[in-house]
């Protein structure tokens, strides 16, 4: 900003106007000087003549080509060959010349027949037959050669000729049309028609024995040959270099020379002489003075231009400067916005002043609005800042809680993992217990089998005792019977009196034996009874044991079933816990995600706080920047910028919602 102002001060409007006028003058002066220099250069340089000569040669060539084309078109268009064959050459030749005369009448027009004779007709150039009879030109033309810009001496004049052969229907050459222009006239016209004065002063001159010509006005042209010979040339200064020149008639002539100037002349094509382009060398001194004069003029014009430029610039910038000063305070940002410019005349500057006044009015309104808005924005941004800080606090709290939750969930997950491992261990232990119980059951089954076997043996023992008892019973009965018999015997012996005494002794003995047998049998019976009782007791005990074993087996089986269901429960629990562990892992992962989100929220809140502060700073800066303007309180617009309070309200309500 300050840099631009400095530059503007260095190149003020006045200076710019003056510089512009000076530049225009300088360009004009430059162009003038260039033109003067050009004139001087053309006047002094002999090389100009060489350029002139080359340009003439080029133009001559073009002319020759167009003439040859004309001839060829005429021969073809009028069927000159057919006409000559039929003997109507003269009539057709007349028509051709008439047709050509409408556009560019040639200085020379010849129609040749098969023998090289010229057809005689009005409009055709009369050339003596003797001259044509041995002319190489006629030979070349009739042999089919098409000439474009060849030179030919005919009847003492130098022509530039073009030709076209005429053929009959079989294609054989039966004649030719030859058109020509006088060379001296062409050369003179080229110089005369040039657009440059320096070129118009050139005078082409052919120095030749039999065809000399010149455009110079000479009293005696024959003297020309003498002065153009190289031993008569003089050396003159031409600018920085020394060139050859001709001293003739008291004047110095620059020149350009073309040697070996070939032309058809009679029976041959030969060098007919040297062609010179000469021009009078003007006095050099005069040209230099003219150049200096023009420089002086330029200087005077420059001074005048400067003066006029300064005045114009002062006139224009006077009022502009007034406006500039009036707006400079505003530019510094502490202007009196209630001030207005003096309008003055109703020209462009007057309109500018009016517009500036309108702009001041707008700026005044704008500044007033901005001041109010800045105040409101400042207040709102403070509220936003406070809300953002609260939000940040909340987000931090949330992040902390989320972190602790995550830790708790992770711990929980680890605990569940531990529980799952314990459950697995419990399952293993329960399986082992089940196996042990199974083993116990099989062992009890073994015991039961053994007890059953023992019971069977005891039962057998009891049976044996019973059989023994039966036997003993029989013995006892026998003993009883024997006792009875012995008693009866004793009775009989008693009845027998003295005779029966000995028998009575026997009977007594028998009775005693029987008694002993009976006693023994009774003892045995008692023993057997005891055995049987014991056996029965044993059997009962066995049965009781078997029942116990059965009960035990049943109980153990129940226990096993219970254990198995317990195992199932534990396994289910283990699986459930495993699933729970997976779920808790999932929760832990989700908590990680939540934590990440919370951290994002945290950083967003920090960003929000920062932005709020930034906004507050901006509002403050805005307020500061418009505070310098002086504002007319009575002119503050009633409409208080509807967009801003709405947004403030929206922010405030949003703030409340967040809280």
């Amino acid at each position: 900003m300050s840099k631009e102002r400095t530059r503007r001060a260095r190149f003020g409007l006045r200076a710019q106007i003056m510089v512009t006028i000076l530049l225009v003058g300088a360009v004009e002066a430059g162009i003038g000087i260039w033109r003067v220099y050009q004139t001087h250069r053309d006047a002094s340089r002999s090389s100009f003549l060489n350029t002139h000569r080359q340009r003439f040669e080029s133009q001559r060539e073009q002319l020759g080509e167009s003439m040859a084309a004309n001839a060829a078109l005429a021969v073809g268009g009028f069927d000159l060959g057919g006409a000559i064959t039929r003997g109507e050459g003269a009539a057709v030749a007349e028509r051709i010349v008439a047709a050509l005369s409408d556009t560019s009448p040639p200085d020379l027009a010849l129609v040749l027949d098969r023998e090289g004779r010229a057809v005689q007709a009005p409009g055709l150039t009369p050339v003596p037959a003797s001259e044509l009879a041995r002319a190489r030109l006629v030979r070349d033309v009739l042999s089919g050669l098409v000439l474009t810009d060849s030179l030919a001496l005919l009847d003492g004049r130098l022509y530039q000729v073009s030709s076209a052969p005429a053929r009959d229907s079989s294609g054989e050459i039966v004649g030719a049309l030859v058109l020509g222009r006088r060379f001296d006239a062409l050369a003179a016209r080229f110089s005369r028609d040039s657009h440059r004065e320096a070129a118009r002063r050139v005078q082409p001159t052919l120095i030749a024995g039999d065809a000399s010509f010149t455009t110079m006005t000479l009293e005696d042209p024959s003297t020309l040959y003498d002065v153009t010979s190289p031993d008569r040339w003089i050396q003159v200064e031409d600018g920085p270099e020394i060139v050859d020149a001709i001293d003739f008639g008291g004047k110095v002539w620059h020149f350009a020379r073309q040697e070996d100037f070939l032309a058809y002349s009679g029976a041959e094509l030969r060098d007919v002489g040297d062609l010179f382009y000469v021009r009078e060398a003007r006095e050099e001194r005069g040209a230099k003075e003219k150049f200096h004069d023009s420089l002086w003029t330029l200087g005077a014009v420059g001074v005048l231009t400067l003066a006029v430029g300064w005045f114009l610039a002062w006139l224009i910038t006077r009022r502009i400067n007034r406006y500039v000063r009036a707006t400079e305070d505003l530019a510094r940002g502490e202007g009196d916005l209630t001030k207005r410019l003096e309008v003055g005349r109703a020209d462009e500057l007057g309109r500018l002043a009016t517009n500036l006044n309108a702009v001041f009015g707008h700026i005044h309104d704008l500044a007033a609005k901005v001041q109010r808005a800045a105040f409101q924005v400042g207040a709102s941004s403070a509220e936003i800042g406070a809300a953002s800080r609260q939000m940040l606090d909340g987000a931090q709290e949330q992040a902390r809680r989320t972190e602790s939750s995550t830790a708790a969930v992770t711990e929980l997950s680890a605990s569940i993992q531990q529980v799952a491992e314990n459950a697995t261990e419990a399952t293993r232990v329960a399986r082992k217990s089940g196996a042990s119980v199974q083993d116990a059951i099989s062992r009890m089954q073994g015991i039961r089998t053994t007890v059953d076997e023992a019971a069977a043996r005891i039962h057998e023992l009891g049976e044996s005792g019973k059989r023994i008892g039966n036997i003993v019973e029989v013995i006892r009965q026998i003993s009883d019977q024997t006792t009875l018999l012995a008693l009866n015997a004793a009775i009989e012996a008693a009845h027998a009196g003295e005779h029966g005494k000995g028998f009575a002794v026997v009977a007594d003995e028998v009775s005693g034996l029987a008694k002993r047998v009976g006693q023994s049998a009774r003892d045995i019976e008692e023993l057997i009874a005891t055995i049987r009782e014991q056996t029965v007791d044993a059997v009962r005990a066995m049965e009781a044991g078997t029942r116990e074993v059965e009960e035990g087996t049943k109980l153990v089986t129940f226990t096993l079933a219970d254990l198995q269901s317990l195992m199932q429960v534990v396994e289910d629990t283990a699986q459930a816990v495993q699933e729970q562990a997976v779920a808790s892992d999932e929760i832990a992962r989700n908590m990680d995600t939540v934590q990440r989100i919370a951290s994002d929220v945290l950083s967003s809140s920090e960003e929000a706080v920062e932005q709020g502060d930034h906004l507050h700073r901006l509002a403050h800066g805005l307020e500061e920047s418009v505070k310098g303007f002086k504002i007319d309180p009575s002119r503050v617009p009633d409409d208080p910028a509807p967009a801003l309070p709405t947004s403030t309200k929206a922010l405030a309500s949003g703030d409340k919602t967040r809280r």
Partner: protein, 165 residues
Amino acid sequence: MSGEVETRKLVSFEVAARALAAPIELVRETVDPRPITPLFGVPAAIVGLVSLRGELLAVLDVGRLLGIGVARRDEGSRLVVVDVEGRQAALLVDRLGPLRTIARDALRPPPDTLPATESALLLGVVSLPERPLAVLDLRRVLDAPPIRPFRERRDPLEPKESPTR
């Protein structure tokens, strides 16, 4: 029959836990019990009739006759066949005891404390180391009041029976 001076032999038995005995001279034999055919209209002391080798014998319950109880009828029971001057009967006893030989003067009269019905049917009592042995007076037993009328009525049958002996 009464040739023995020094000793007497007694067939001992037991009825209703009482040790009884009979003089061996009046005992014909002892037999195993056999089916007893009950009789109706006779005193309870007459248990019934048994057939012994084709001979019908009345079975008497000594316990009831003595008034000391009722004789058992089980596997230990025996019939003691007595023959008192041709009059025969079978005594149902609980069990037989050993053949006992006692001194003749060992028989003492029954003590006065015994009931008259009982002592009237006893010859006497022998004191044995274990317990007193009451010796039955078989003549009185066979003529005991409960069975006397029965015996009077059966009198006409006697001549029939006697020749068989």
